[in-house]
Subunit: 274 residues, 2 copies
């Protein structure tokens, strides 16, 4: 007789996978944890696959072979996030978010755990099976989003500093031109923060012309990193010609009228399935 009932095992397995997305866990782990036979563990996983699909909770993938196992992807299709994104878009239209100087107040959203974990899942979704080695961001406002992307992909986060206050040993700095304001700025990353030749995903909260992302790409060259893609929560419609091509955003800010108190923002086509 088994020590744990099936529903106990299934509940425990859900918790373990949910805490460790995109992580390969082998059947032996569950066999030892519950003291069950391989066939029983296998059945448990099959049952759970159906449950997870039924509730749109992502998906379980079986990787065959000696080094194989099962891994959980927290998002299996973008459709299940559509109502969340629509709700967020309505919140972003609130004109009280307009900050003098042409800024948009988003801290209440991007620093809210329940919101930012979903944002992280959405932005990591197209990269779930691209074997990303690290999520890279630049301080400060993009860090929570990038952290949640890193969590969904189960890879380390790398934080580029905007100054030289790097207390992590030798570092590489580059100068870049902030696209919208045409200022010269610099960003730095310590040598040991990122292995040479890593495949990286660049994440930030906001993108206008793309100068910051472009700067990050240049810095990545210094680490022989391959930039697989870039993702931001909000990109602006103008300027239409961006300094980077290969990026995704969840929202497109079309216009922000300080005088008329209007924020015109839309959901990106790839999320709406258009």
């Amino acid at each position: 007789m088994n020590k744990y009932k099936r529903y106990e095992r299934l509940a425990a397995i859900v918790k373990i996978f949910n805490d460790n997305p995109n992580t390969l866990i082998n059947l032996e782990y569950f066999m030892n944890l519950f003291g069950i036979a391989k066939s029983t563990a296998s059945e448990d996983i099959d049952i759970l696959k159906d449950v997870i699909e039924k509730f749109n909770f992502g998906k379980l993938i079986t990787v065959p072979g000696a080094g194989g196992g099962i891994k959980y992807l927290s998002i299996s299709n973008i459709d299940s996030y559509r109502s969340f994104v629509k709700e967020m878009c309505e919140k972003l239209k609130d004109a009280s978010r307009i900050i003098p100087g042409g800024f948009l107040y988003t801290a209440d959203l991007i620093y809210s755990p329940s919101v930012v974990s979903k944002i992280g899942e959405i932005l990591s979704y197209p990269f779930q099976e691209k074997n990303i080695d690290a999520v890279v961001t630049v301080e400060t406002k993009g860090i929570p989003i990038a952290m949640m992307c890193a969590r969904a992909l189960n890879v380390p986060l790398v934080i580029i500093r905007k100054d030289s206050r790097v207390t992590e040993g030798s570092f590489v700095s580059i100068n870049y031109v902030s696209g919208s304001q045409r200022h010269i700025r610099s960003m730095s990353l310590s040598r040991r923060s990122l292995k040479k030749g890593s495949k990286v995903l660049l994440i930030d909260d906001f993108m206008k012309a793309g100068g910051t992302i472009r700067g990050m790409m240049e810095l990545m060259e210094e680490f022989d990193a391959e930039v697989v893609g870039a993702g931001v929560m909000i990109s602006t419609q103008k300027p239409e010609e961006k300094l980077v091509n290969n990026y995704i955003s969840i929202f497109v800010l079309k216009n922000m009228d300080e005088e008329k108190n209007i924020i015109d923002i839309e959901i990106s086509d790839w999320i709406m399935g258009e």
Copy 2:
């Protein structure tokens, strides 16, 4: 007959609670989600309470009354984290972490999603039932830890900036003396980031004399906030006289000898149950 089997419902409930720690969810929510009677939903929760306790996954708490419901705390006792903390302590003793200038390299740990989510759970543990309104940190390295504390407590994160690059409207700045280096520095927080009278938990990655935490406390006074406590991943043994009293740390760095290549670090007593 019920649309979903019990094990399907339990698996789904675990996922929902795990994604929403410290959040009150009422029975009606599950009754509607699964199309089940109140008695069935109630039974499901009772079964799940046992499962969660059995596996040391935290605990489910029932809040009675009209506005009541069930909430999930991701950590029910510190004992279950002890082996993780011990393992981390061994990693922190690796002498290659010594950075010239007396710094300790921790980015590989505090930016790793699986590590930082546990660190966040541990630091939030003593404050789980203190009705915290917000977790407050100062950029940059403490942000991932603070984000995971905020997630465990289900409250917003507030990020204090170290300069005046605040693009979130009017802000309050203070000057403070960095305890260890005796430099005058400043930190700023936008007015709308934190409601007046909030109960806050201060979080950072590292604390020497406590000058930064002390600065945060002063800034909190400007927002009429009540500082319920402060938590850091690592505090140093010296100076023994800190600028703040009311703080917890997971590790105590007793000594770091650049010449002899030795890091002497210990786990705090409150975690070891001593």
